[in-house]
Symmetry: C2
Subunit: 447 residues, 2 copies
């Protein structure tokens, strides 16, 4: 275990537990000694989300360019499928698809750019029509299969992409202590061993526990948070080895699942809405995080609920070529009808009401799409400034599924205008329909 | 929420939290009052695994019959693929495949029977050759595609099977309180919404949180345990709503992923080893479980580790027709080399050594195959009687992936010869290679 400081590797489990408890205790005493208000027993078990590290494998591409490439690819695939070659008929398909994409595609006013890990860098400056579909690995055999590559090929590309991200996230030469836990969140690629398990295997991190938080869609950051908070709490009460740091890694490679023959309005919406998104962050017990002066978000409470009878509104299932998405246009209405009850329940558990929250809190809302932000804003009667971080992340990245909310948390932590102590009401939505949320508290890392 | 007692639905979160704390406290006082030895603070956070309910959709089929059907199906698919029709050549393929299956297939001495959810009941008494492949839904179009159905069709069958299991597990007319959490464990079917999310949606269990513990293979019960223990600990320290009961549901529909054209020795081993397996159980805070006189296993400690450089030994990946398994024949050797270190680390954290454990403890070992039980027994120098529960579950069900270990736990809880207080050393293995374990303690449910 080259990356574990030698003193730790020689300690028994019990010694390690004693060491961590001593540090937790020291953190509390230090706090009390310096006159920082003591936050009660709950703090000893609370977790801080910190160390946000966005990751990427490709420069984001401008949305106008992506819409153009998407239309060209769809028209091209349709001509192959239908055996259309005569220039006038090809032009008619192109005109029709372009009109549809212009009508249903998400506008560059809402999403400026998206990372598309599949696309070569040249796509930023050249139309896909000029580069040719061969430039994109899953479309290399489009002439024989206009749906694109089969699922096993796409999963191999997913693995290669995540391997590259993991080398960014954990440089092989870095001497940092490995995390006690590594939670891998994705709804876009499943392999066993997963790329994360292979990383832990080749780095010989035998004290690192890997957990997969898979197939929970856009709200995936919240189950991961539940797991991380639970693992820390369980370790602090002695039910597992003591844990100092849990890393969470989101790898959402959504462009991998495109099928250019899916051309219904709902398909055009989703293909123009989702961007690839990758991010790593860490959770520490709050007392340890304070000693290390970490800035971040303390987890105060979590709640999740499935909206009755809304199961059909959104699906994400496995198919021979790719994972297959369906989004109903009514999703924002369902969320608009149910979000108030979720937020009120969250607020009750931290003794706030919505009027107080509106004046004192910041909101981190998963921007499933622009309309979702609008309905949540309206249902909770928020000002535009209160959803600005969500709007900004959508504009700069598109909907990155589970990776989106961590990017918004990162904005809030970095924002100097949001003082320490500010409560952050965070929420996300996904298949189920599931509505989930947390109350967090900004912490500036002062000891 | 028709299944929630009316008093609970009307309570605020804080009222519920107070209620649960009061019950926890009452449990402790009751214990102390009746002279049961007080187990220290740790007990207040510990969880009990209980209420094991095996589920099934089909009668198990005898292994000799399954081997015969498997050989027939493989020969049939190969003849289709290779365009073989002449009776003499068909006979030659049949002879060759039968010899291979007899040589590499798991013997009926090791596995007596397996549940195969795909197979109609008639398969118990009739050869598949007589029934015809059309009797099995994924082979209905074998003549046009000898790999069997494509992945989307298999996932739809998975969903229908799990819907049926969920109606068994949670009868629609039952008035029992829904669980606070429902953890769904599987490595054989992914849909969003999952069947479990759809259940919660149509029953309107708006206070039930669903978590997917997916794609972790045969060791999946342990990550689920980590999650459940963590969710209970987090709720008990006030980081989420109070939780009284977490249900865990395993749905391993492995026969769904068969591909009769996969005919290498390793494929014959895995197809004849894995059986479908379904089971539900619950975790309660120990103090609540005692009040309800639950018999079960208290979770004392958990540990998991990835064996360095063994990633290639076992894979389970998505492909266009089905999930695709590879098992190296060296897996038992890797486990044999590493199991001692894992078990010693587990024992250290509960202040036991291996010599004590050999005399005092029961072992619940995932029977990945008969050889895995043999090497673990040898590495830990156990008696055959100490691995009897594992051997028995393998014999009666085959390897049911993540569902196997809960069946073994259930055997141990039901076994009158194993007294309360007995420590249970439990372990499982899967892709990574991951080796994971827990120390549990049998509890008889006396107040």
């Amino acid at each position: 275990m080259p990356n574990v400081p030698p003193d730790l590797t020689r300690l028994s489990l019990d010694d390690k537990r004693r060491l961590v408890f001593r540090q937790l205790q020291a953190g509390k005493e230090q706090e009390q000694g310096r006159g920082v208000p003591h936050q009660g027993d709950r703090d000893g078990f609370a977790a801080l989300i910190t160390d946000f590290e966005p990751l990427s494998v490709a420069r984001p591409l401008p949305q106008h360019r992506l819409l153009e490439s998407m239309a060209w690819l769809m028209a091209h695939a349709r001509c192959i499928k239908e055996g259309i070659r005569a220039p006038a008929r090809v032009q008619a398909v192109w005109d029709e698809v372009t009109t549809q994409v212009a009508h249903y595609g998400v506008s560059p006013d809402i999403i400026r750019q998206r990372e598309i890990a599949l696309a070569p860098a040249a796509c930023a400056d050249h139309a896909l029509a000029d580069l040719g579909v061969d430039a994109i690995p899953i479309y290399a055999d489009l002439h024989t299969d206009p749906h694109g590559a089969l699922l096993d090929r796409r999963m191999a590309l997913y693995a290669a992409c995540v391997d590259q991200l993991l080398d960014q996230a954990y440089p092989p030469t870095e001497a940092r202590t490995p995390p006690d836990d590594l939670i891998h969140v994705t709804c876009s690629g499943y392999l066993a061993p997963s790329p994360v398990e292979r990383l832990v295997s080749r780095r010989r991190w035998t004290e690192t526990t890997v957990t997969h938080a898979y197939h929970m869609g856009c709200y995936g950051a919240f189950p991961a948070l539940r797991m991380a908070v639970g693992f820390l709490a369980a370790s602090q009460v002695g039910l597992s080895q003591p844990k100092r740091r849990i890393d969470v890694l989101h790898t959402e490679y959504l462009s991998l699942h495109a099928d250019p023959l899916k051309q219904a309005p709902a398909d055009i919406v989703s293909t123009s809405l989702f961007g690839d998104g990758f991010i790593k962050y860490a959770l520490y017990p709050v007392t340890l995080a304070r000693q290390q002066r970490k800035r971040g978000l303390k987890v105060l409470t979590l709640k999740e609920s499935i909206i009755p009878d809304s199961a059909r509104e959104m699906t994400w299932n496995l198919a021979p070529h790719a994972f297959d998405m369906y989004l109903s246009k009514d999703i924002p209405l369902w969320i608009g009808d149910h979000i108030l009850a979720l937020v009120e329940a969250l607020l009750r558990s931290v003794h706030l009401d919505l009027t107080q929250a509106r004046h004192q809190c910041v909101f981190a809302i998963h921007p499933g799409g622009a309309r979702i932000l609008d309905v949540v804003k309206q249902a909770l009667r928020l000002e535009e400034a209160q959803v600005a971080a969500s709007r900004k992340v959508l504009y700069e990245h598109g909907n990155m599924s589970s990776a989106t909310i961590p990017y918004i948390w990162r904005e809030i932590v970095a924002d100097q205008n949001i003082p320490a102590g500010t409560r952050v009401i965070s929420m996300a939505f996904g298949p189920g329909l599931t509505a989930t949320g947390a109350v967090l508290e900004k912490s500036e890392g002062a000891v």
